[in-house]
Symmetry: C2
């Protein structure tokens, strides 16, 4: 583990949250200002950081370019994107595609609905105990993977409906397996709800999920539930493109 590299990457994360002065960066890393300065100089020369006219450091365009290339490289996204796009157009809602990576579920695609732009971000992890795409992927994942994710969950309460214990999450995931889809009833933001379906691959495994998200005032949970039959057709089509050959979607 390279301490110097960890520090440099930590700087990148720190300056991505808001413009930061040299003094702030040194304090954040708990190193001497000359050390922080040399790391920032290296990052800047390489295009990964840049200085505003007031001296503050922000993320450089080199990161943006790499991020864009990385998004293009996500295989799952290439295959599923036309479906995600169409689902959003047809439903008018925001559609997310997320993928299991290690023991967390990460957003890999997203098309915003007509009425709103959401705070979720490609590249960020979906909350294990609230996000419906995380629930649906973990519900159908290997038990070892599921338990590891549950153990790592923070169970931070965001609203009155947030799941805040491991046992409650296990029960919820059991329900997801029974009915074949996951829900988020305002558990992260109390004015947003969504439903998610699993995507099966060639081996019949689930490592991806797709969700429909909407403001409650625009489409309450019942409205999203009513869309599940047609949503399931899309999820089936996506699954088939990933090589799934099962007979009964959502039931095995």
């Amino acid at each position: 583990m390279s301490q110097t590299v960890v520090r440099a990457l930590d700087i990148l994360r720190f300056i991505s949250t808001s413009p930061r002065s040299l003094t702030e960066v040194a304090a954040h890393l708990d190193v001497h200002k000359s050390t922080a300065l040399r790391l920032l100089q290296t990052l800047s020369l390489q295009g990964f950081a840049r200085q505003l006219s007031n001296g503050a450091y922000v993320t450089g365009f080199g990161i943006i370019a790499l991020g864009q290339l990385a998004i293009d490289q996500i295989d799952a996204r290439t295959i599923a994107h036309p479906h995600v796009q169409r689902l959003s157009e047809e439903s008018g809602h925001t559609v997310h595609l997320a993928q299991l990576t290690g023991d967390e579920v990460v957003y890999v695609d997203k098309v915003d609905g007509a009425t709103m732009m959401m705070g979720s971000r490609i590249g960020l992890r979906a909350e294990t105990h609230s996000a419906s795409v995380a629930k649906v992927v973990l519900a159908f994942a290997d038990e070892a993977v599921r338990e590891k994710a549950i153990t790592a969950a923070t169970f931070q309460r965001y609203s009155s409906t947030t799941i805040v214990t491991a046992e409650a999450l296990r029960q919820e995931l059991s329900q997801v397996r029974s009915r074949g889809w996951a829900e988020d009833n305002g558990e992260k933001e109390d004015y947003i709800n969504c439903v998610a379906l699993p995507i099966y691959d060639a081996r019949g495994k689930v490592s991806m999920g797709v969700s429909l998200t909407a403001l409650k005032v625009v489409a309450p949970l019942e409205v999203l539930r009513a869309r599940i039959p047609e949503f399931r057709l899309s999820a089936l089509t996506i699954s088939r493109e990933f090589g799934w050959r099962g007979d009964e979607y959502g039931k095995h």
Copy 2:
């Protein structure tokens, strides 16, 4: 300048082009495999790289997340985006916004037109000697900045119309200043053309440009030129939002 950090960032750029094995990364960096492995392990643990099931390394989701945050942080983009979006919708063409950073011009926003998706990427630099947004920004930039950019240009020939000498570029930029807009007549890709206008800021300076891009078969240069009067209104509006108070757009 931190050699270790430079190596790590070089790895990030290398693996962003296609999935790479440990052996390839070590050869690329010209270091021992154990050195490359430790750097890759550090990047992976920090979420900046990840390993595919076959052992190859690709860009991690941490980079994607940072790239998305960085895009959100670009002030120019926040202000100009509604206009860029509207311009693309109204014209049906791809619209780019680019900004001078140091001595190069970088794409900071882009909305694809109805007919096609383009290869240009937010975060990447616009070609100094061919891209119309680069020409328009440099034409109206300080002479010192312009000369530095011209000196650094590669003048690589991409098509029969590419500008390949510094003197020819200076003449081109002089013409841009005279008529008030820049053009790319298939100079990068011979089937694409575009026109670009400067954006003035509160001090009457130009550090941003906006362009309309189209396939020649869809909209030849004459068609794009014909759009300049209305395009100029948009560029004026954007300039005013950046605080410009001049009387005669494009003429001072």
